[in-house]
């Protein structure tokens, strides 16, 4: 469902010299597959997720999502693809403080065309165990609850790919496992492919496929069996 080919991305340093971050010959995630990305801090994991989501444009290469190469599309098109097909869970949750839990979930489908399903928002919040917190603002929720709302929001538009960027890094240890389980289970239920970034070996150890984004910006396939997926 997701294939990256020859993705190159570099930032410019303040003095103007290019700073290469990503150089990925091939990276593939199959339908419903769950992949964990590990790598040392600053190696470009966030940049990679944002490039996949179309939030950041790659300098070159292909990003094929469900058969569409978004790298060749206009920004507006990429925005629509993101609205329709991608869910994103942030390390810092990024809930909008002025909106209730329910409204934050609704926002997850606001920008996609023709999908404003109140029932689904309530169902998702119920699924993440927050049916009693619908009208609470994020400030009135614990961090664990906030991240659960964020997970519900990321799934609201029925995406085919969920990108989770260190979703447990800001969560107290007792709740980390709950969040990971929640993300993995709901993705499985909704048949959503998952790419999760984590620093926690405890977390990465639970995944069948662990990819290491090396400092040399080459994705190494630890799990060779996954190479078959296109």
């Amino acid at each position: 469902m997701l294939t990256l080919r020859n993705i190159k991305k570099s930032y410019r340093e303040p003095d103007g010299t290019p700073l290469p971050i990503l150089d990925i010959p091939q990276f593939t995630v199959a339908d419903g597959e769950q992949v964990v990305l590990v790598g040392r801090s600053g190696c470009g994991k966030t940049t990679l997720l944002q490039t996949i989501a179309g939030i950041t444009r790659a300098d070159s290469g292909e990003i094929v999502i469900d058969g569409i190469d978004i790298a060749t599309k206009t920004e507006g098109y990429v925005d629509r693809v993101r609205a329709a097909k991608i869910g994103y869970v942030f390390q810092t949750f990024n809930l909008l403080p002025g909106f209730s839990a329910f409204e934050n979930v609704m926002l997850g489908m606001t920008f996609a065309r023709g999908r404003k399903d109140h029932g689904r928002a309530i169902q998702l919040l119920d699924r993440v165990g927050l049916s009693h917190r619908l009208t609470h603002r994020p400030a009135a929720l614990s961090v664990g609850e906030q991240q659960r709302v964020a997970v519900a929001r990321a799934l609201a538009n029925k995406p085919s790919l969920l990108l989770a960027d260190e979703p447990t890094a800001n969560i107290d240890p007792r709740n980390q496992q709950k969040i990971v389980d929640l993300i993995r289970e709901t993705c499985r239920e909704e048949k959503v492919s998952l790419v999760m970034v984590t620093h926690s070996t405890e977390v990465s150890g639970q995944f069948d496929r662990v990819d290491r984004l090396e400092e040399i910006n080459q994705v190494k396939f630890n799990d060779t069996t996954a190479g078959a997926a296109a």
């Binding site: 939030i55 920004e75 507006g76 609205a83 990024n94 002025g98 926002l107 606001t110």
Partner: protein, 542 residues
């Protein structure tokens, strides 16, 4: 979640800042509404009086605006008066002769005539001859010019002819101004003002009475002393039928006349300045102390031959005695009418054929004694050259206040942009495109502008409602909360004169809506562009 809800939420998320912004916008709009309402009130009060029931007013030479303000609106400082005989020039012969007989000239002529007759009977040729020759010389016209000259320096009292302008004009109604009842003007006039004057020509309406009747020239019960009060006066000063009222001389704080008028009628509200005036019989008006024009010289017949030099002391005593006598006469229950020579009028309201009005205007204005004004024209000029520019200036100023308020919206939104950038980036990450987040900002500034506008509109109309008693007092125009004046024709707006739409008219206030929208878009544009340009990756943080 609609974009509208999102924009609304970001407003309510910062309640204090949003409210302050809206209040500032509201103040601007309130002022615009107030100015428009004043505009409407003024326009309406002018329109109400566009049909006065007369097209010509004659009064003393001087400012024509002041004459019109006095005669049409009973406003402004009182103006000078003109001779009563000038009024008589607008009357047909029969009426004129009847009125002019109340003169020293005629009375002395009569007296002389009788003396001559008596003398003739007594056979005293000398006296008879003198008296006879005097009166014969005056048979008909002119009448006793010497007597007249002794009385005043006014024009000769001539009988037996039509008034100079009497045949060119219709319905001469005299007005005598100068006194006050409470803060309201007292108008001395003739019953014709209510019997004959059709003030609303379109609907053929005369002034109507809510209670009682018109005053009459002379009634058995009250003599010359009947009064009619306007609706507003009756309401405010609680005047009832049968009340005896005494005007104050010259100013609201002037001395109170001893003479009392009995209220015999209360007018229905007409929305004209007549609502706030008191009308008294002119005959009675003249008989109040200080209203008779003082005689320059001795009255003929009083002390005919004793013109010998008097000492100052004697002259003073003489004057005092005469004044005392006058007062006694005035205090009499039913005194004699004041002689014509001692009468003056402030204005004469006349209907003249529009074809001959300009000729009449020339004839009168070239003379020394009076001026003729066309009230509607003066009102129109006042309106066009004074009121309108002032109003447009006010409107421009208030519009500028709105623009300043608009800028405060810009500042408010722009200030929030730095904290908002993160939210905008999150929405972009959720799939919103650049235009969507730009629109949200534009919607927000629109909501602030319209919300503030709504507040201001309500405040403005509440203000109008609160001020309406004062406005009604001052102008006779009644305004409620829903004062939609002035209206603008849709045809003008669309630049067409054909079609059914063109005949519809809209309240000018409705233009506030598109104006505020434009303002909101203009001031929202900058922050919207800033939202549009938000770098998502950078603003998202981790």
């Amino acid at each position: 979640m609609s974009l509208f809800r999102i924009a609304l939420r970001s407003i309510t998320q910062r309640p204090v800042a949003s409210l302050l912004t809206m209040i500032s916008m509201g103040l601007g709009v309130m002022l615009v509404v107030a100015v428009l309402s004043i505009h409407g009130v003024v326009e309406q009060s002018f329109a109400n009086n566009a049909s006065l029931g007369y097209n010509v007013a004659i009064g003393a030479k001087g400012g024509k605006e002041q004459l019109v303000l006095n005669t049409v609106y009973y406003l402004s400082q009182p103006v000078e008066n003109i001779w009563y005989s000038y009024y008589c020039e607008f009357l047909p012969q029969a009426e004129r002769d009847r009125l002019l007989k109340e003169s020293f000239a005629y009375r002395s002529h009569e007296a002389a005539w009788q003396t001559a007759e008596l003398a003739a009977l007594a056979g005293d040729q000398g006296l008879a001859g003198a008296a006879l020759s005097q009166s014969l010389a005056a048979v008909g016209l002119p009448l006793a010019p010497d007597a007249r000259r002794q009385a005043t320096d006014g024009p000769a009292v001539e009988l037996g002819r039509h008034g100079k302008y009497g045949q060119l004009t219709e319905m001469a109604i005299p007005l005598c101004l100068g006194d006050y009842f409470g803060r309201f003007r007292v108008v001395g006039t003739t019953p014709k003002l209510f019997d004959d004057l059709v003030y609303d020509i379109e609907n053929n309406r005369k002034f109507e009475f809510a209670q009682g009747r018109n005053f009459v020239h002379h009634s058995p019960e009250h003599g010359y002393f009947e009064a009619v009060v306007g609706a507003k006066v009756a309401r405010e000063l609680d005047v009832k039928l049968g009340d005896e009222i005494s005007p104050r001389h010259g100013a609201p704080e002037g001395h109170t006349h001893e003479r009392k008028f009995t209220v015999v009628g209360i007018l229905k509200t007409s929305g004209t300045p007549n609502d706030r005036a008191v009308f008294v019989n002119m005959e009675g008006f003249y008989l109040m102390e200080d209203h008779a024009k003082p005689l320059d010289q001795q009255r003929p017949g009083d002390q005919p031959e004793e013109a010998a030099p008097q000492s100052d002391e004697e002259a003073r005593k003489d004057l005092e005695a005469r004044r005392k006598k006058e007062l006694e006469l005035l205090r009499a229950a039913d005194p004699e009418p004041l002689p014509v020579e001692q009468r003056e009028v402030t204005a004469i309201l006349v209907n003249a054929d529009p074809m001959i009005a300009p000729g009449l205007e020339n004839a009168i204005n070239e003379g020394r004694d009076a001026q003729l004004v066309l009230p509607i024209k003066v009102i129109y000029e006042l309106f066009e050259f004074i009121v309108k520019p002032v109003q447009w200036t006010l409107l421009a100023l208030t519009a500028m206040i709105c623009v300043v308020s608009g800028i405060s919206i810009l500042v408010s939104i722009y200030n929030s942009m730095s904290e908002r950038r993160h939210e905008i980036a999150v929405m972009r990450a959720l799939g919103a495109d650049r235009y969507t987040v730009g629109w949200i900002i534009l919607l927000e500034s629109t909501l602030l502008a319209l919300g503030g506008g709504m507040l201001g509109w309500l405040a403005g109309h509440t203000l109008c409602l609160a001020a309406s008693p004062i406005i009604e007092d001052q102008t006779g125009v009644t305004i409620g909360f829903w004062n939609w004046e002035p209206a603008i024709s849709l045809g003008t707006l669309l630049g067409t004169s054909s079609g059914r739409l063109a005949t519809l008219s809209l309240p000018l206030e409705l233009l506030l809506v598109p104006a505020l929208l434009v303002l909101a878009i203009v001031v929202g544009f900058w922050p919207a562009v800033s939202a549009y340009r938000t770098d998502v990756a950078k603003s998202l943080g981790k």
